[in-house]
Symmetry: D3
Subunit: 211 residues, 6 copies
């Protein structure tokens, strides 16, 4: 992390990452030994954009970096789900990400997306609440219904039925919104498992962000 | 389904789909009302290829068809995971798909990928075993270890640790193979939830395939 | 299986059993080594009737065949529960059998009674739905209430209370019907465990029946 | 309960049943209204034997008394399982009954079979331990292995595999014994559910027996 | 236990403790070897009062006796919770203790507090019902609501929300009563774990009390 | 919070609490309306000491403040457990507190004791790891064994047996240490439930501490 990016950090209110014995060596990203592949031009440009906008490359991208096809597919789906236009705000999508990751107790995703909730909401405590127990948060009925659906889907997808969708419609969500809630909740049920299976370690810079 | 595709069906040993009161109307693919978007040229070509190779368009593709970006991202990730070169055979990837979907009791994925296991293995009972309880199947140590890992990851991802990875290595899997097991298991933990959240219905043609 | 019974098979629309590496050796019925006892006259007549009507002896009967008293008691209870007059149709009793066996992931009972649901309903997909997740089936309110009760009884019998019985009465069931639902659900909670404890293997002929 | 049977009670060291507000009306045996059928000669003789030996008719028999075929089938299976020759002692079979019923929190079976454990063992505390948590009891390795298997079978039958049977063989059980453990455990998984489904109430006389 | 206390026992209707092979040696109170500390004057007086009132020292007190500060803190909290003025009767507090201990299957607490429920209620069967399954008891709406809350708090505290408190208020409980229900339920969730962690053994005298 | 205590805050490296919509009104400490009692001299002195040392009164103390006997008993037990001499360091006791509270998803305790882990360890990430999933932390064998025991005790206390205690002894813990692990784990199983039952809200100052 060069001087410049450090300046960028301060501009964005991010704390400087501190070494942590409990987190372990930040440079070993997963428990698997997989040789990085050369970045494709598309992915090289994307990494450069991350570096510029965030000041670092999220470790999940480096973890996928052993295979350009897999990295590209992951980035494509991630960006569509989390950034494309939707009836759900970007913050709401991150709230789903963290509430699902809390159910699955996924260290990587809780750290990275907990930081995103803090940053997007400007309410650091909201990030903590999503990590700890979303039921303790003071939320609008809409957001509460959204998280109830997402966490039920994480915990017992076989029990989700029409009445669960009806509760979302009752809370003001359109059918398209319901798809998006399901898709985001589903996606983090995937990434939680890839991260847990490989002991993926988050960039330590996240910890101090937007506190 | 025109005469021609029916002939294709017979050539592939697929039974003609029968109407089922219990399965309901095959033409209503999900519980959500989402207008199909015009197919992009890439997706139109992909659908044509499905029609040609399978004789039908899998309903999950039609379900994603309301948004070309989402459909494209899904197809990209699916094809990479299930068809790209890997230390896991295509059959093994389908076995993971079904064992995970059995844990999550996902009707769509059990039907569609159960058929794939029957077809790829030429052993229809293997498909049933993956649907019902993979622990009752006579499997090689390798495949048993693979499914133990995948189903633990589905059920309690927070408990997966180094000793679980060690068991896979012991069974002969490389680190790259471990990634692939995790990625396929993760992916079906996603699709199981999208399917359950939307009550996605499988093409009825799957039921009779490769029995 | 002689020529004649093979003819019987075709007459009944049953497929010829195929060997399956995953299912293992069909002639080893359980993991226990128990010497068959000589059939009592009553049981010899019953086995002959099975051979005549079904074309084979269900393996569960052979498994109990080491002790005539146990076999006779099992057959007596089974036939009363599944075949005697009841407010529940034979199909409904088989639906309970499969939904309970799905909760308990019992390979033997899912195969044998899944076939029975397919045969009695003439709707092969109904059999699959009972195996995979009964909640995904399009059922009458009556049958849905029946299965909700049976599966709750399988999963958390300690939580069943008056309101659960009230829901059955509301769906049109008499007190005698409630007994029968409980008794059939209870019975398969027994057989699921005997089968799982002994690794009981179903006759392979079931797999192709009524597809 | 006439004078004579009261005398019989004392001879057997049974306490006189006391009315209990919490247990409710002892004469309403289940929550279902089912007309008693006339006793068949065989069942009339059996009831008379119960009255003579126990001083009362166990309520479960009265509950089945609406249908002679069902009552006869139940009595046949029960007596074979619990009283016929077996490598398991009668006490061990009752210990399985209670440990399984404790897992399922079945009031009827815990009361009736808890009393049986107290009586057969002459150790009232053993009855309490089976009701409360068999893991807290000082048991032989044999009995501990037996109950571990029975309770795993009650809780998660889908996880029972060869290594569980191997543990029983290691503890000295024959294959026939393993069948009997499975059959008794299975049976109480059935009766626990019939009792819970119908809110079956035990004879109050059990409570004071063999304390 | 001297002659005198034996007389006290009879006066209180307590049975004489019998040795039990299954319970093991009554004089080894926990699985930990911890040297008793000299009793402080306050605790010596308290032990003397126990001896006088109960005829014995509850083993939990002896278990804490290795450290006077810990013993004093435990006794202070216990006596406040179970004996101080409250909108809950002493019996109700003991009912919570046993229902929570039943959820946690804690042998020590079920024995000791099951006896207390029998004694305080004068209804021995109520004690059994709390041990076995409080849902099978005929309770007032008030007591049923109280136990529903306490057992949910034991089982899934993260799901307790305003509607659970509302149900208690609906059943007539004040906010202070809700605190007391929570505090008693919480306390036994603590002691259940201390007892299970140390294999704490109850005084055998409890078993025969108030039967 | 006066100017002075604000200065104290800075001296201690604590961030100034920020209002959070998601956390709600910091001045409403629980969902129960309980009138504060006048502080006893002992408790007044204790509150003054908190104010001096911490710069604030932890909300749990205010929550207990409606009754001096309860507050005194709570403070007595808390201080003995967390601050008295022990083979466990203060940090280790706080790690147990947070790992148990994570299992129980208790917002209050995760916030308050997560801050304590950050502060005592000087490793903010260790606090996050205890909140999110202690299994992802790089811990010594000793601390890992300690948390395995504590979390098993939280999750399934009925399964704790001699082999669990043996694992602690193997990791170097004395019998007295085992007691302390059990007692601290037990205590937070209590407070988690009191906090969840009453929707207890942590002081917002905790959130920014020792980041």
């Amino acid at each position: 992390m060069a001087k410049q990016s450090s300046k960028t950090d301060q501009a964005k209110g991010k704390a400087k990452p501190r070494p942590s014995a409990a987190a372990g060596d930040d440079t070993k990203i997963t428990a698997l030994t997989l040789e990085p592949a050369p970045l494709s031009p598309e992915m090289a440009a994307y990494f450069a954009k991350c570096e510029e906008k965030l000041g670092f490359i999220p470790n999940v991208l480096k973890a996928y970096g052993f295979d350009m096809a897999k990295l590209t597919a992951f980035v494509g789906m991630y960006n569509d789900l989390m950034l494309a236009p939707s009836g759900l705000s970007k913050l709401e999508r991150e709230m789903i990400a963290v509430a699902v990751s809390s159910h699955n107790r996924c260290y990587y995703c809780l750290v990275a997306h907990g930081a995103a909730v803090r940053q997007l909401s400007g309410d650091p405590v909201l990030g903590e609440l999503m990590v700890m127990n979303y039921r303790a948060a003071r939320l609008s009925e809409r957001q509460r219904a959204m998280l109830n659906f997402a966490v039920k889907l994480a915990a017992e997808p076989w029990l989700v039925e029409e009445e669960d969708r009806a509760a979302l419609r009752q809370a003001g969500f359109s059918d398209r919104d319901i798809w998006d809630i399901a898709a985001v909740a589903g996606f983090f049920n995937m990434t939680n498992r890839v991260a847990s299976a490989t002991d993926m370690r988050p960039n330590s810079v996240y910890h101090g962000q937007s506190r």
